[in-house]
């Protein structure tokens, strides 16, 4: 077996990707040194304090530790987001090294009894800060997807260190004396500093470090940071629940330490035997924790998810206290130690780190620091006070009872924490990706005067297009004031824009508009004049009635068409015959503009039923004439006849429609689709299927909508389902899916559709893996493109599955996940992936997560070889994928 294969095997067992091996090895070694230090510190601090100072003083040391932790963590919080995590790590370890040297020197003087509680406090503060900061350091160096796989493994490195430390403690304590072990911890800290320095000197600052604002530091700033963190606790339900959970966990934890150490101190009579026992206990427990962490924790996390694993430790803690209540002896103490050293290390610590990952990156450090600056010290203080109070009662049963209650509350708040976890993920994604949730104008409706003033400023803008855009918004938000404000700017606008603005104002039916239009007409160009006449007729202005005969006789086709409209719209019966004659002349004219003005009158057919009777009027000439011109306006005008054509004229019009269905302008293609709906169902369906593959999303979406409408009439979803199941390009499928979701298809139907897409995702993933293997050995460009196309299809089909879920799950949540997946930021992708596990449909969430997190671990049951993959691609109803596969086969 070659060494590469072995390396690959090891990497696969530990879920490490080849490109990650360097960073994993570095972090493992670093954490080994940290672990050695912590194990030496724990054992020596306990042994020295219990034997030289007395365990009965432990509650007081808890109180002292709480105060020291609060002060040091406030300082930590002040720096946490400002310095890169590696630099801060060096500072923490540097201060620790100096403190260890000082404490060791003090211990050399036999009269200095207080150096032991001091050392105990130094250990408590240092171990807490190192653990918290190690989590932040990993977060700044691994993305969230990596973190989920690698954090348990790297924390396993610290367990190796703890085992080594335990063995060293057991062996060296009798040889060199317990107090001299401090110097070995000092050495481990200095080595860690050197490692951090060298690594980051070579590879730069932590890749996910985002510096917070910079300012000069002061005590008040630090306090302000503490309060900011507390405020954030109020805003974030996850952090709030996590804080409560942590509070009771800390009480439970320290009461447990007190209980088990009481038993150990009574059992082991000398300082050396106690220290050696601690060494062996730490080594054994750490070995078990390490095994669990390496081989069980990450697999359980992937199988059951963060939320289930989060409950392991609360349950085992409850069990430990029950045992202590039943029997306050060495076996119960060993179970308690197992719980706090093994279960907590292997399951609780990695899960806590993962859950904190969900908080927004820029406040993560401060949020973590706040939990330690406020929550841990206050909980530790509470534990100290409770123990002091209970000590007076004299029985250890009361101590275990307090621990049991704390463990129960810890379990309760862990469950609450689980409930808000997914909500926090979604909220974070939404904030970061700023999802549009409603129409902007809807939000502005009924707004205050400030918004109105802003809109007025926009209306007065010298750029006509800005004026037009603001006019649209003002009409929707302040319809009552809109007319007066908008027309004040109208004379300065270009003729084309004036036309558009007047047409925008028409639906408001403002009483002041006719008068304004008559004023504006003076001196205006012919185009705008005709628009004014058109608008006045629409507003049924009395004065304009007298103008209709003149308009019918006008030399310009534009005005004659408005005259025809006036005669019928205002129901001037005397003019009907003349107007109809004028209309026929317009349609039969060789001037395409006359044809266009004539056909545009069909837009108002509902209001002028007397005009429209195409059985008696020949429109074919006008339609052909306009189609031959070919521009979008002419073509659009020609399509207006579709709704009015008698069935015997459909034949020639279908040919026109087929021709215009490939028009370069999307608005023509859109209008064509509407026109097809007036033809027979079979022709309409054929046109719709073709339009679903259109290059423009609006055309595709309309096609899907019309398909849905046709199917609703026929009371079947057969064709949509077939289109989605049989493939089609992802864009076509997406349009159909969107239409199915918005049309309110049943949840079960959409859920089945999503499941079908997940199966397709699995097939695509396997096909991609097969092609990638062959691609690396081939110079065929078609094969490389096929690989890219399959990858695109894989992502698009994942999105389709999620799109289908929008109808059966919380649509907002799914939308946020989709945005996260499409984002190019790995952190958001990872957060979205995490949110997938919170879906009601667990099967889909799990299947998608597996493929996204480990695409190359597919089981490979779909395809026997590359030929089968190519054949499968060729048979897909996806034109581009088919073309690529065909090219590969030909080559």
């Amino acid at each position: 077996m070659s060494s590469v294969t072995l390396q690959e095997k090891i990497a696969r067992i530990f879920l490490v990707k080849p490109e990650e091996s360097r960073v994993v090895i570095y972090n493992l070694v670093l954490f080994v040194f940290l672990g050695v230090g912590l194990a030496l510190g724990r054992g020596t601090a306990d042994a020295l304090f219990f034997k030289r100072y007395g365990i009965e003083h432990l509650p007081w040391v808890y109180v002292l530790s709480a105060l020291s932790l609060a002060a040091s963590c406030t300082l930590y919080a002040a720096f946490a987001d400002r310095l890169s995590s590696e630099r801060f790590f060096k500072y923490i370890l540097g201060v620790l090294s100096v403190a260890l040297l000082l404490v060791w020197a003090l211990m050399q003087f036999p009269d200095n009894d207080w150096s032991y509680p001091l050392y105990y406090v130094v250990y408590e503060v240092a171990s807490e800060l190192i653990l918290i900061h190690a989590g932040l350091y990993l977060n700044q160096n691994l993305n969230a997807l990596q973190a989920k796989r690698l954090v348990p493994l790297i924390f396993g490195g610290s367990q190796v260190g703890v085992i080594l430390g335990g063995v060293m403690l057991a062996v060296l304590s009798p040889l060199i004396g317990v107090s001299n072990i401090l110097l070995i911890w000092l050495l481990a800290s200095v080595t860690s500093i050197v490692m951090l320095g060298r690594w980051h000197h070579r590879w730069g600052v932590s890749p996910f470090y985002r510096a917070a604002r910079k300012r000069k530091l002061s005590v008040s700033d630090s306090m302000s940071d503490v309060f900011q963190g507390v405020r954030f606790m109020k805003q974030s339900s996850l952090l709030r629940m996590a804080s409560f959970s942590l509070f009771f966990m800390v009480i439970m934890f320290y009461v447990l330490i007190y209980s088990v150490n009481q038993i150990y101190t009574e059992t082991f009579k000398t300082e050396e035997s106690l220290s050696s026992f601690f060494g062996i206990l730490v080594a054994v427990n750490s070995l078990i924790a390490l095994t669990l962490q390496f081989f069980v924790a990450n697999r359980l996390l992937r199988k059951f998810g963060v939320r289930t694993v989060n409950l392991f430790f609360p349950f085992t803690s409850l069990f430990s206290y029950l045992m202590l209540l039943v029997s306050f002896t060495l076996p119960s103490a060993l179970i308690g130690s197992f719980n706090k050293d093994v279960v907590m290390t292997a399951f609780r610590n990695p899960v806590w780190s993962l859950m904190m990952n969900v908080l927004p990156g820029n406040i993560q450090g401060r949020a973590r620091a706040m939990t330690v600056a406020v929550v841990i010290p206050s909980a530790l203080l509470m534990a100290g006070v409770l123990l002091l109070a209970i000590k007076a009662l004299g029985s250890p049963v009361y101590v275990a009872l307090v621990g049991l209650i704390s463990a129960a509350l810890y379990l309760y708040f862990s469950q609450r924490m689980n409930r808000v976890y997914v909500a926090e993920i979604i909220s974070h994604l939404k904030q970061k990706l700023t999802l549009p949730d409603e129409d902007g104008n809807m939000r502005l409706q009924g707004s205050d005067n400030t918004i109105l003033q802003d809109l007025i400023r926009g209306i007065q803008h010298p750029d006509d297009h800005i004026y037009l855009a603001y006019a649209g918004s003002l009409i929707k938000t302040f319809p009552e004031q809109a007319t007066e404000i908008i027309v004040s700017r109208l004379p300065a606008a270009q003729s084309k824009v004036r036309d558009q603005v007047v047409r925008l104002l028409l639906p408001l039916q403002s009483k002041m508009l006719p008068e304004i239009l008559w004023q504006l007409m003076d001196g205006a160009d012919e185009r705008f004049q005709s628009t004014c006449y058109f608008s006045l007729i629409k507003l049924r202005d009395e004065k304009v009635r007298q103008k209709v005969p003149d308009l019918l006789a006008h030399e310009q086709a534009r005005f004659r068409a408005v005259g025809v409209m006036g005669a019928f719209y205002l129901d001037e019966k005397d003019l009907h015959e003349t107007a109809r004659q004028v209309w026929v002349e317009l349609l039969s004219s060789d001037d395409y503009l006359a044809n266009m003005f004539g056909l545009e009158l069909l837009d108002m057919a509902e209001d002028m039923p007397a005009l429209v009777d195409l059985e008696k009027v020949d429109v074919k000439h006008a339609v052909n004439n306009l189609t031959a011109v070919g521009d979008a306006c002419s073509c659009l005008a020609s399509l207006k006849v579709s709704a009015f054509l008698p069935s015997e004229q459909m034949g020639w019009f279908k040919e026109i429609l087929m021709h215009l269905s490939t028009h370069v302008d999307r608005s023509v293609r859109i209008e064509c689709l509407h026109s097809w709906m007036h033809m027979d169902t079979e022709s309409a369906l054929k046109a719709i299927e073709q339009a679903l593959e259109d290059a423009h999303p609006e055309v595709r979406e309309l096609a899907a909508e019309l398909l849905n409408k046709l199917e609703a009439d026929e009371n079947t979803q057969f064709r949509s389902a077939r289109l989605v199941e049989m493939g089609g390009s992802p864009r076509a499928q997406s349009a159909v899916m969107k239409s199915l979701v918005t049309s309110g298809s049943s949840k079960r139907y959409l859920s089945n559709m999503a499941m079908a897409k997940v199966e397709e995702v699995k097939q695509l993933n396997e096909a991609l893996q097969v092609i990638r293997q062959v691609e690396s050995q081939s110079a065929q460009s078609a094969l490389s493109v096929l690989s890219i196309v399959l990858e695109e299809r894989l992502k698009a089909t994942i999105d389709l599955a999620l799109q289908a879920l929008q109808g059966s799950e919380d649509a907002d949540v799914i939308q946020a996940i989709r945005m996260g997946m499409q984002s190019h930021e790995v952190q958001y992708q990872a957060t979205a992936c995490e949110a997938l596990q919170g879906l009601t449909n667990k099967d889909i969430g799990r299947a998608l997560t597996e493929i996204i997190e480990a695409p190359d671990s597919s089981k490979g049951s779909c395809f026997s070889g590359v030929e089968q993959v190519i054949d499968w691609c060729r048979k897909r109803n996806d034109p581009w994928l088919h073309q690529c596969a065909q090219a590969v086969q030909t080559a």
Binding site: A695, H696, A782
Partner: protein, 144 residues
């Protein structure tokens, strides 16, 4: 040179790397092939131009010297690399002179062709925006 070769070359350009192959195939089809001999200049610094180029084969040198005749190369580009892509979008004068170091074949696309393609295939523009946005992010990251 078939459409698949062209797509693979375009995928290497920062402007098109994020564009879906569904849209990129239309760009690939619209591109022209041009050949240049050694010591020719593809364009000079300061001149107006709206073409982007992707090198199919050969080698070119980029000079920022104000005198276009001076071959003071700040970089040399080979097959698969592209230049002039920003002129597709900004229409500003060329910021460098491109000298042909070895006989070179390039694929070219002008802004007018691109505009027509975007009108017809609007999702092409979204892909290009993604590519440019990523490039901007990378630049910002490197700068910070």
């Amino acid at each position: 040179m078939d459409i698949f070769d062209r797509i693979l070359l375009l995928k290497k350009s920062p402007v098109f790397e994020q564009t879906s192959t569904d849209d990129l195939r239309h760009v690939a089809q619209a591109m022209d092939i041009e050949n240049y001999l050694k010591d020719e200049r593809i364009f000079d610094i300061g001149e107006n131009g709206d073409h982007m180029y992707v090198i199919v084969s050969g080698r070119v040198g980029i000079s920022l010297n104000g005198n276009p005749k001076v071959k003071d190369f700040v970089a040399e580009l080979g097959a698969g690399e592209c230049f002039g892509e920003m002129n597709l979008l900004d229409n500003l004068p060329r910021s460098a002179t491109v000298h042909v170091v070895e006989d070179t074949t390039v694929m070219t696309l002008d802004s007018n062709q691109l505009r027509q393609l975007i009108v017809r295939y609007p999702e092409l523009a979204l892909g290009m925006l993604k590519g440019l946005s990523l490039k901007l992010r990378d630049t910002n990251k490197n700068k910070s």
